[in-house]
Amino acid sequence: MKLEMSAKLAAQSVPWLHEQARDSDVVLSSRVRLARNLTGIPFPSRAAQQQREALFHDLSQLSGALHAISPLLVAEVPDLSDIDRQVFRERHLISQKLCEKGKGSGVVVDDSQSLSMILNEEDHLRIQAISPGLDLSAAWRRVDALDNELAQHRTFAFDKTLGYLTACPTNVGTGMRASAMMHLPGLALSGMIPRVCRAGCQLGIAVRGQFGEGTEAVGHIFQLSNQATLGETEVDIIARLEGIFRQLVWSERNARRNLLAKRRNELLDVVGKAYGRLRYGYMLSSKEAVNQLCDLRLGACLGVLPGLNADGIGDLIAAVLPGHLQLGAGCALSGSERAAFRARTIREKLAAKGTSAA
């Protein structure tokens, strides 16, 4: 099995999971991406195979000469094994949509693994940066710098009224989507998520759970992002989002404190049972593992489990996803083998942490 690509990534832990980052008790990561197309070439869906391959070659070569990015690896989709693709996706470096493409589509990953250029997915180019905790500005500075440098070398499709022209009209204008991945167990356990979704809708913010809408969010993790890309500057969008996200961080902390004060046993039950299943379970699906690890993370953030801190729980969440898990095992595993190996990995990790539940 050839795993060169993802092994290269896994040499470094997931760079955007830092427990010490700003507001990281609630916000796991912040992400900004820009959609760009080169002028004079049809968008990837209508471009000839030859055009797509030439563009991939051109931009991946160019990336090696830029200051704003120093490529750790350049990968064309057909070069990636199934496990590679899963690991890249779990690290948010590529999308499922990119995996479905062939030659001429791929990704350039920066040394830091928190900056990447996605080539010939829906648009010719997507520039993306992720930063730990709530810090959209840091992610914006990185994509902005790379975009500026690219603009000195290539001409982007741009209209003076409509802005940057993108394959999908939902991205036209700035081509920018800024998002935060938020852990909202306090609001979820208090039944407040529908209200958050409604408020988000009114404020032009999309709230998505794991599988899209509202309630089905694995581990109470939600992704919130701007809906509109036209009619507002990038800096204004980011400032507006950061303001709203900060409010939401405050609401979540408040909800957690409330639960701790008024429904303490219920809360301890959630955290304690999660610990029990993780510490003593022998079969865990990735969904179950993520759910329980997120509950454990809540307990750690609230300090209700003596000796347990949030350090390492984020890394463990990443490590038990199907791609990373199989990379850790060094071979492809069936569904039930994965469940067993996942449970073992977690048992050993928690045993090493030497925690006793309250």
């Binding site: 975009d147 003076k160 802005g163 991205n171 599988f211 009619g231 969904k287």
Partner: protein, 181 residues
Amino acid sequence: MQCEACQLKPAEMHVKKVVDGTIQLLHVCTECADTNGLDDVAPGTLEAAQLMPHLADELLLADHAEEAGPNHHCGTCGLSTEEFRSTGRFGCEKCYSRFGDALRLGLSRMHRGLSHVGKTPRLAADSNSAGSGRQSRAGQLQEELARAIAAEDYERAAAIRDRIGRLKMTPPGRHSGCAAP
């Protein structure tokens, strides 16, 4: 209910997935969900953009029916109105002017106005390396400052603050169009 994938085990998970632009509700057992990557934690499976085909009809408004009729094609990439309706995606930059008038109202509903006010390629290219270098240097110093304050190293913090002050005083070589927030 049986799992729709293996037809053997009971379906325990009900997940929404976008298949070719339409939302499908899948009833699967946890193992099949695992195998098919339906239960990984990559969020955003249901991007607003994936709903575009449903919005395309609304975008191409009835009063522009003729212009946006099924036989209308983009002269550059050949994308037809029908194709746009089915995928919600344009084929090239010229599609925006081909289908543009029909799009206007739809775009104004979807966005915050009809005029781009953000950065432009010209300003981006003009923000010369000195300017952006200066910007990132200031950012770095700000981070160093925050670290120094967190470590209660106030002497160092004061020195860094002075350096940031000096950096801000020096006029940039050329105007940078897109200052970081």
